[in-house]
Subunit: 425 residues, 2 copies
């Protein structure tokens, strides 16, 4: 039966109901069974790599015909090596400590009531993402690891690739004795399905949209289910006073933060230089950036120190360029830097480069961001780099999960209270 001809609402409700039921079953499974399913999925990914590549080739051909850009096609493409990498990521997730059942806290009340806060799966999670088929695998693996049921809605460009990868996970979990419905991959490209799914708050506990800002805003506007948002990354690097002796380090970190991969959310978009070192370090860093093809947009003082800089307007401080462009500003103090970051930034990832302990401490305490870096590039804000195995996204929300979200961030907790016929008096 083609999903196109089905009543979309009935289809959405059925997906959501199945996820709720599968989630209740998953919550009662043992970690060794979930890990075995993941290892089996990794094995199947490798065994079926030819099939997956064939499915991917169909997507690639369709994508070329549809005139997709080179970057999108590159992210879409799967080959033996990429599939082996995806399988290895699944095994890494399997090897992690089980977050489910972890006793987060526990104590005994004076009246003998025993209270535990126990980590439990959230239940059912809807993940909406764009073209990259490796997200299908990462998201499925993290949800299985954390004992959740998931509904995966990938981009239409990766339809066949996602279906092939999704089938691997369904076969693997069914083979391990887990409910196959714990992984459901949406195989219709009908765009009107998503708004209906986003109203199934009775059955779906959480939505994670992964993709551009417009996708996330559309999800937030339609959803009656809580959404973990990861909006833009307007990331800053602040170069503190007293850092002339490590000029090369400063230059290397700044260049890395901007150019190593400019199109991603943890790339730097603004550099702030303390006025005391601006004269020496600003021109050197900017020259190195220009050599890498970066366009520099600066405040008035920046332009006096580095003539090639174009003028930066107020709007530049808010921008996530995702491109080889950097905004540069000279600040009078650490406090001005912190104030600038909190006002214009996106609370994603911001770094200080300093040799001064109190400055590092004040920056860490004062900057209101998910990740605050001391003497490291903003590009390191990443689930893999942090050791979370893989990430389901990088949250710019403050509630529930902040920063890179791993398997443990797909859990909640329950209070388990054990008494001896305790009453309330």
């Amino acid at each position: 039966m083609s999903t196109q001809t089905m009543d979309l609402t009935a289809y959405a409700v059925e997906l959501a109901r199945k996820a709720r039921q599968a989630g209740y079953l998953m919550a009662q499974t043992k970690g060794q069974v979930r890990d075995a399913a993941l290892r089996s999925a990794a094995q199947l990914l490798r065994q079926r790599s030819q099939q997956i590549i064939e499915a991917n080739t169909r997507d690639m051909v369709a994508g070329e015909q549809a005139g997709l850009g080179k970057a999108v096609l590159d992210r879409l493409k799967l080959d033996e090596k990429r599939i082996a990498g995806i399988a290895a990521d699944v095994e890494a997730i399997a090897a992690q400590v089980d977050p489910v059942g972890q006793v987060i806290d526990g104590w005994v009340r004076p009246n003998g009531l025993r209270i535990e806060k126990v980590r439990v799966p959230i239940g059912s999670v809807l993940i909406i993402f764009e073209a990259r088929p490796n997200v299908t695998s990462d998201a499925a693996a993290l949800c299985i690891k954390s004992g959740n049921a998931c509904i995966l809605r990938g981009g239409k460009e990766a339809l066949h690739s996602n279906a092939a990868i999704g089938q691997v996970f369904r076969d693997a979990i069914a083979g391990a004795g887990l409910p196959a419905e714990a992984v459901q991959v949406i195989e219709t490209t009908d765009r009107s399905l998503v708004p209906i799914l986003l109203k199934q708050n009775e059955y779906i506990d959480l939505v994670v949209p992964r993709g551009g800002e417009s996708l996330i805003r559309a999800v937030v506007a339609d959803s009656t289910i809580p959404v973990i948002k990861h909006y833009t990354g307007n990331c800053h690097v602040y170069v503190d006073a007293g850092t002339e002796s490590i000029a090369d380090r400063i230059r290397d970190v700044c260049v890395n933060a901007k150019v190593q991969r400019p199109g991603v959310c943890n790339a730097a978009e603004t550099f702030l230089f303390h006025k005391d070192i601006a004269k020496t370090l600003l021109p050197m860093v900017c020259a190195a950036l220009v050599q890498e093809g970066v366009e520099v947009r600066g405040c008035e003082r920046t332009r006096q120190l580095f003539a090639k800089a174009r003028p930066a307007g107020e709007e530049d401080w808010y921008k996530e360029y995702l491109d080889l462009i950097i905004a540069v500003k000279v600040v009078d103090s650490l406090d001005e830097a912190i104030g600038h970051i909190n006002k214009y930034g996106s609370h994603h990832t911001d770094a200080i480069l300093t040799l001064n302990v109190p400055a590092a401490d004040r920056f860490v305490a004062g900057v209101d961001s998910a990740s605050v870096m001391v003497n490291a590039t903003t590009r390191l804000a990443d689930g893999g780099v942090y050791g979370l195995g893989a990430e389901v996204g990088i949250s710019t929300d403050k509630l529930h999960a902040r920063g890179p979200m791993g398997a443990a961030d797909l859990t909640t907790y329950k209070y388990v209270v054990r008494g001896e016929w305790h009453l309330r008096t």
Copy 2:
């Protein structure tokens, strides 16, 4: 200047902006200063008890004139003893461990990158509540303890009482050197202010509505700020097979869960009896309930065992009576009980009464509720009983905070990453 004559939007934005700024300052304060402010607030509450009682008397007189019900007036009323109790609660919160700065987790990556997850205040919290003036004190104290700025919007019935209590906190925190704007009490009764405040997501991080379901639904409908919801408490007590030997305990817990305070969210609304013990225990428990003035509504099998029971319809299983009414059902198995609770319940608090270890374990694992009780009354689901000092509400959400919310639940975390000029390669 009267707020009535001010432009409400400008007033809302100013409240929100001040909260954001005060929040940034609060985030950098030391626990001993926040605790000193709380102890000073407790002292001021006692010192100014005559003033507070006078303000409260104005509310009581207005309430009587407005024809408020006896129960509402009782909750509104303050006297020396109640104020002493409120002050003692504030001191108990001051005595708790500081949640801010707690290192939740920390590790070193193989490349030497040092990663810490550090607990930090959420920032600015809007708390909307109904008549009880003690909530003003609890909410302010919990927000100060957790390093947040708060905006408090109490019911109009308690306007003068809330203003007097709010002033105590503002004086206490200013006296301790903290920003007075960290506690802002809204003193206009203009109802159109709230929807405007609920759109200030740029400045306010969290909304906690405390009150009836209609209040919460209205807040959710209007808010662009994340809301922690605490909807109804449709709480269950399941009486397991094999419990005849502890009939008196069963009866006492059931009666306590239903009648000790029927109007609150953690009172029981449905009892489930395993069929094997229904014949002996169901009539005994129901008779005890009737003696306490409870109306029993039962399934078919219940009515065969207890003739006084009126028939329960499908809609009864969903109901939060908040009254001396109980729905009673005989189930064939533990699994049926778990299924019933997950289907009809509100995921608030549910209890099993049992002597059987595997049954207790399966109930704890299978019931998807914020608090799962073993051999204790549902009435114990409470921040004070759990030892959280006081609660800002009982969340029926799954994300961020679940169950009674204490000071630590008003925090989030940031990743603090320390490197030695680490790059991404």
